[in-house]
Structures are given as structure tokens and as C-alpha cells.
Symmetry: C2
Subunit: 280 residues, 2 copies
């Protein structure tokens, strides 16, 4: 691996560049972004230089697409056939099935490996980038075929993912989207719903404690990112919302009954299991 | 103030003792708890000694009731008439209206000032106590009458609350309960509902990121504490649940429309305001 191109040098793309460098990558890292972002990214020591998308697509052996989902889809459609035969093309989009579909059609020569790092921060932008952002986090990889997993290229990329401190998890793109509707998109919508309700209750800011702050943190995420997610994972999100709504109705009926204790115990156990998996 | 009694020496009561000491309180701090807790609290340097409830009620000039809500109600009923005329009795219960009602009836001589520190931790118990737990946090005070606010005793207690690093906020007990149903009990139920749903989705632990972990943290709280809260704030909690459920239905209908952006923006703004108030 000689030259890496980051398309969309924001928090994730910038952190990937820094992490790669820290993991020992000695080649060149170039960026494809707006002139202002390129300037900031060079100043922050995240990339060496900016370039245009066509040149990057033709010259680099690792292409890291880290725009919002619709931007990734567009890049795959526009430059898919330009990526070199020996190149690896990956992305960091939050949904994977539509991206996999586009890659199957348009990435004609390079190996495409979908990706989704389970990492993030409240604030975005390249100035927030950190070499340690992926440390200890899961990093979902969604190759287009099962066969791809045993290729030397896939193994090499997976090694780099371990090199940046993350834990690779291999999933089918459709299964990924079904699961993140629950683990990521549902929490987002819940946080937004809660913040929205709290915003309508006068005086509530006077009694805000850690619970309300924790639970409305995600509500501060920019809509632009989420809109792409909704557009590309609508069916799964609707299913997750329906499931949560019926669970919520159950809880409403249980508020004054002892059965609430069972529900609490089940939830407590589930919360514990999520944490055990996270640490394990 | 010569002698302080902590009833229920757990995370909150123990932290109050440590914080009081750090703020310069030079008198004696005694504890009323199970023998095992008293032993742990003495070992941790939180209290000087244990005593029985009747002796503590008769001898101390600050009584700090920090059991779960039903325990506080019971202590007020049993010992309310024993508290000295010059004593201040306060509590750290999560709901305030029923406690205020009990205090009006049973605390016949001492000044009763309801309290609710907006502080906590995932884990409970005196071994988790910290002198800095209240630092920078709001500390709601719910005196039984408006007149009480101007008394020298109230002012003195409020000074101690500032001394432990907290920001006193004065509220009517009923208004407190209405507001915390939104800011505290609703987040708890949401977290429990989400954890419960996640527990039913096979494979979800493989894609758990910071969002799901944040949003299920509260679900790990022990039911024992929450049960008391539900029993003593049921009407307000039901109203808050209804409001959230209808907001949620709105979001379900909006998932694929542009109106979702407005809802996101409103929520984002509300989340920001909660944080601004918190820091201000």
C-alpha cells in the first residue's frame, strides 16, 4: 500500500488518516474535499495534500470514502470504473446495503469492502480528528461476497483495521442495516423525540441532571447525516420504530403493576450484556 | 451546626457527608443504617460512628434522609415528632410531593426542607461515595412554605449546599415532581424500553456503538429505587409517557418526509438549551 486517498476529510476520514499513520503507514495520504477542508486538514497534519477525485481514483491503492451516505453513493457511481485493479475501495457510511448495490454495479475492477466504524463524537469536522478514535471500537466490514473474505487483499485491509486499534466484525450488508436500525438509528430517533418533548416543557431546564443530558446527547447530531441514513434504511427503521412503540405501550400499561419489575430486570440484563460484549 | 445524622448511608448520603467535611464542617457526623453499611462507612471515613434512629433524631441538628423514597416517608412518620425545634430536617428523595405531605403532618417542631440533588452515578453504595459528587450540579430545594425561604435556618442550609459545590434551585414540591417526570423518569423509562427491545434482537451486540451504550446506561439502574419513584409520582409519569408516545407517533409518520428536518432542528435546539442551562 503506497498511496491512500481520503474522500471527505471530516471527523471519520481525518481520524482514519491519523490512525493509519500512527499504525505505521509510511506512504502518502491525499485528500479529496472542499478547498477549505483540504487547507484545514493539511494544517492539522492529517493529509499531505489535496487532489481531484479522478486523479485520486486512478492513482491510489486504498480509497477511503467517508462522506455522508449519499456522497459515497455518488462517488461510487462516478468513479467506480476508474479505481485500479489492485486497489481496495472502502467506505465509512452508516448504512451498507445500497452502497453494496452501487459497488456491485460500478466498481468494475477494484476490490470493494464496505465498512462502518462504530466510533464517533458529538462534534464533527477534521479539526476534531483523533488518531485514537477507533481504539477499542468495533469496525464492521461488509464484503460483497463471502469468497472475498479469504482474499489476500481483504486480509491485508483487515490487518490495518486491527492496526488502528479497532475490532473487525464481518457482516452481510443487509444484516448490518437491519441491526444498526436497532442499535444506532432507533437510539437517535428516541433521543430526538425526548429532546423535542423536553423542549416543550417549560421550566424543565431547571431540573436537568445527568440522565436527561445523556439521553439527549444524540439529538444534537446534524440532520444532514441522518437524512441520508433514513433515505437508505427506511424499511428497517420503520420496523424498529414499530417494535419500540409497542414496547413503550406495554410499559405504559405496566407502570403501576409488579410486572414492571420483570421488564426492568430484562432490560437491565440486556444493558449488561451489551456492555459485556463491548468490553469483551 | 454541631452534629449531623445521615439516615441511609449510601452513595448520596455518604457523598453528602464527605462533601460537608470538605466544605469545612467540623462537628460530628453519625450514620443510621444497617450494621454492615455502618461498618463500611466508618472504614471509608464517611461517618464517625453509627447510632440508632431515635437517638439520632433527638440529638442531631441536621438530619439528612437519604434512603429510597418509601424509606424516607417511613422515617418522617416514625421520628418526625422527635426532631428538635432548632433542627433542620432534609431529604434527598427523587420525588417531593408525598414527602412534603408527610413532613407537614409529622415534623412538628423542626424545620423541614425537601431536597433533591441532581447528581448520581451508575453504581450505588457507600463505597462509591465522593466528596465531589455534587460539584457543579443543581440541588433542588423544596421548602414547605414560601415564608420558610427567608428564615435564617433556610439560608444557613442553602449556604452549606453552595459549600458542597452545588447550585441550589428552589421549587414547589408539586412542580418539582411534574418536571422530573420529564427530565428524569421519562429518560429512565425510555432507556429501559430501548434496552428491552435491543435484548430481543439477536446479533445486535455485534454492532453496538457509543449511541446504544449511552442510551441504555440508565436501564442498568436498580428497580428498587425506581419502584418507589413510580409509586409516588405515577400521575405525572403517565402524563409524560403519553406526551412522548404521541411525539413518537409523529416521528413515525414523518420518517420519509422533509418535515422530519424541522423536528430534528427543534430537538437539536432543545438539546442545546438544556446544555447551556446546565453550564450556566
Amino acid at each position: 500500500m503506497q498511496r491512500v486517498a481520503i474522500f471527505g476529510v471530516g471527523l471519520i476520514g481525518g481520524s482514519f488518516a491519523l490512525a493509519l499513520r500512527r499504525a505505521g503507514f509510511a506512504g502518502e495520504i491525499v485528500g479529496v474535499s472542499s478547498p477549505r477542508t483540504i487547507e484545514a486538514a493539511i494544517a492539522a497534519g492529517v493529509i499531505e495534500r489535496g487532489t481531484d477525485a479522478v486523479t485520486a481514483a486512478k492513482e491510489c491503492d486504498l480509497i477511503y470514502l467517508s462522506q455522508p451516505v449519499l456522497g459515497i453513493l455518488q462517488a461510487i457511481e462516478q468513479y467506480g470504473s476508474l479505481f485500479r485493479e489492485d486497489a481496495i475501495v472502502t467506505d465509512a457510511g452508516s448504512t451498507k446495503e445500497q452502497i453494496a448495490g452501487a459497488a456491485r454495479t460500478h466498481v468494475t475492477r477494484a476490490l470493494f469492502i464496505g465498512g462502518h466504524p462504530m466510533a464517533g463524537k458529538e462534534r464533527s469536522g477534521v479539526q476534531e480528528a483523533e488518531a485514537g478514535l477507533f481504539e477499542g471500537r468495533k469496525y464492521i466490514l461488509t464484503p460483497l461476497t463471502k469468497d472475498a473474505i479469504s482474499s489476500a487483499q481483504f486480509r491485508s485491509f483487515s490487518k490495518w483495521i486491527e492496526g488502528i486499534g479497532a475490532h473487525p466484525v464481518i457482516l452481510d450488508p443487509a444484516e448490518h442495516d437491519r441491526l444498526v436500525a436497532y442499535s444506532s438509528h432507533l437510539p437517535q430517533l428516541l433521543s430526538t423525540a425526548l429532546a423535542s418533548v423536553l423542549g416543550e416543557v417549560e421550566g424543565v431546564a431547571g431540573v436537568t441532571g445527568p440522565a436527561a443530558l445523556d439521553m439527549t446527547r444524540l439529538a444534537a447530531s446534524p440532520f444532514s447525516v441522518w437524512y441520508d441514513i433514513f433515505l437508505t434504511n427506511r424499511g428497517n427503521i420503520e420496523a424498529a420504530l414499530t417494535k419500540l412503540a409497542s414496547k413503550f405501550q406495554e410499559l405504559q400499561l405496566l407502570v403501576d403493576s409488579e410486572a414492571l419489575e420483570n421488564e426492568f430486570e430484562r432490560a437491565r440484563e440486556a444493558a449488561r450484556r451489551l456492555r459485556a460484549k463491548e468490553l469483551g
